[in-house]
Symmetry: C2
Subunit: 359 residues, 2 copies
């Protein structure tokens, strides 16, 4: 097992990464400060891992709330089911919430914890690669609104994160690839050496070799933690983590939540960012090809959905959180491992990129 | 005009107290960091003060969302109307929310600001005495859940508070008295001298003498700010501010939100706390009489609702946020100006108090 400490002053916490972590009760117990636990999970994950987690909580008052599975259920109405359960079972302000599931469950359980009685502790047990490398670090929690993704939320840090690589064995290939997209993102942002490692180890990741997965998770979390530590509430450099996300959120919203997986949408989005960066003369076309090649090897889409028009992209991108004073700020690339925040790009070239990626 | 600085490290902010503040645009403008403003108000307050506030915002992109008036609308569904408006009008993460109204509007606008895009700035313009002395200080924001009051919320500080005493002229007498209940609370908690001042100046407050109101608001805010500065997220001493609230919330919930005003419910609740304290031998019966007398002079209820049974009180009080490990922690009195947190009271005496206060 590897332990990574996320340093955020009084809100620091450890991430545990390795095999069989769910069968070590003492790991999770030492981060529960009271005798009350509510597990938040979904219909897909509950049959797989709920019993194992509950076995670690026999000495606690514990219950579970099982939500429907999918990004389309990440909204205020479904969130209210968590509050219903907390209040019906009279959980006090000392309750610890445990998120058992992927990114949607982590986002919702974390936001519920941020809001219940104005804040109770929570623990993340991410069961997908995407959530192990993304939601584990950074404290972003949220639900979607019909008019925009992650528009209602809070910055809220967990007590600890348990990334058990065993749980990745039950992921389907498409979900695994979606997580790999987020892993590649860290290489592209500020870790060219990691990007090269990924180019050489993609088949080990796709074959779920535990050591390769653990290394990729640890390095991704470390890269993300370094950035978050510099900018907890996203006033500046943290925005780099949104590489591919302004394009990707437009695809997710435009296609309806859940039809494109998050990693699929941001993979295409990152390639769009690279394409625009190359058009601007900021990076080599050969590097764009390396990015396209690694996504293809990972089994990720390298073209946008046929249905979406340039006008639709522009409309959806302009409601993104990164818009300032009407200008869409984008995360672009000055090369592999050199992401940059920019509102200084040519809008015509942006439209050329969007046209290029229509299937 | 008086200015009171609430000291909370990097989240400190000023409270401006005085007459005609709404007609001084520069006061509010210097606390708006962007060019985007959404005013959150309600159907009662909008016809009275919205135009005046909007006149101070002519140079800004500004809109207003007008919510229904009343505690019964302080819920997630109505909160979502604020998010709808923010997203339909494409307000960015730089938007400032302004709460124009009483405590319900302040709580909802503040919570919306805490959550929109994971946090945008907000300004409080409280238009009731209760909200000027209560919601102005402390950063508590929340909505109600069908099973409990203020169960979903956040600690979130405003950029500034504008307490314009002119707005109190449009309050009806019952609303004014409700605010006076909260003012008296500060005397009871830790300011016996202020309690005496209130005993001598109650008719000036009821007659809305501006100097008396401004003094009572300033002193209440100062008393509250002193406590909050010691304990921003209510781990300890801040709980004293809940004097009368565990009983009072039970009345509000039991009677249905909006039927008893908040100040009315907590006035009765404070008297119940005093009665129980006297039964315990912790304070003089003569002091309980002084408390009863000041509430009567203020026009506040000194007896509970006829409909509520002891069992109902006990059930409702046990879901309160102050419950720890199954024991209802109460704020009781060791005398006027000496509130104390206690779970060391005789439950039989608590039931005697509850019986005593059945109408």
């Amino acid at each position: 097992m590897k332990t990574l400490e996320v340093s955020l002053a009084e809100r620091s916490y450890p991430i545990y990464i390795g095999q069989n972590l769910l069968s070590q009760p003492e790991l999770i117990q030492k981060h529960i400060k009271s005798k009350e636990v509510l597990i938040v999970t979904n219909e897909t994950v509950a049959p797989l891992y709920l019993e194992q987690l509950e076995a670690a909580l026999t000495n606690y008052k514990h219950q579970a709330v099982i939500l429907p599975d999918g990004e389309e259920f990440k909204n205020l109405d479904v969130l209210n089911q968590v509050f219903d359960k907390l209040l019906e079972a009279r959980f006090s302000r000392q309750v610890t919430l445990i998120a058992l599931g992927g990114g949607v469950i982590g986002d919702m359980a974390g936001f519920a914890a941020a809001c219940y009685q104005r804040g109770v502790p929570f623990i993340q047990v991410p069961t997908t690669l995407l959530s192990q490398v993304d939601s584990s670090v950074g404290g972003k929690t949220a639900v979607n609104h019909a008019l925009g993704k992650n528009m209602i939320g809070a910055f809220y840090q967990p007590q600890c994160v348990l990334a058990d690589t065993n749980t990745l064995n039950t992921l389907d290939d498409r979900q695994l690839a979606s997580g790999i997209a987020e892993v590649i993102k860290y290489g592209l942002i500020n870790d060219a050496e990691f990007f090269e490692w990924l180019e050489h180890n993609m088949s080990a990741l796709k074959n779920r070799v535990p050591e390769a997965l653990a290394y990729a998770i640890e390095r991704s979390c470390q890269d993300k933690a370094d950035i978050v530590a510099k900018d907890e509430t996203e006033q500046g450099v943290r925005a780099l983590l949104n590489l591919g996300h302004t394009f990707g959120h437009a695809i997710e919203t435009g296609m309806g939540y859940g039809n494109w997986l998050h990693g699929e949408a941001i993979a295409t989005g990152m390639l769009m960012a690279a394409d625009l960066s190359a058009r601007q003369g900021w990076m080599q076309h050969a590097d764009v090809q390396r990015i396209r090649a690694i996504f293809e090897e990972a089994g990720l889409p390298v073209i946008g959905p046929a249905e979406m028009t340039v006008e639709q992209y522009m409309a959806l991108m302009s409601v993104d959180k990164k818009v300032q004073a009407g200008v869409i700020r984008l995360i672009l690339l000055k090369g592999i491992g050199q992401a940059t925040i920019s509102d200084d790009y040519d809008v015509t070239m942006l439209q050329e990129t969007l046209t290029q990626f229509q299937a």
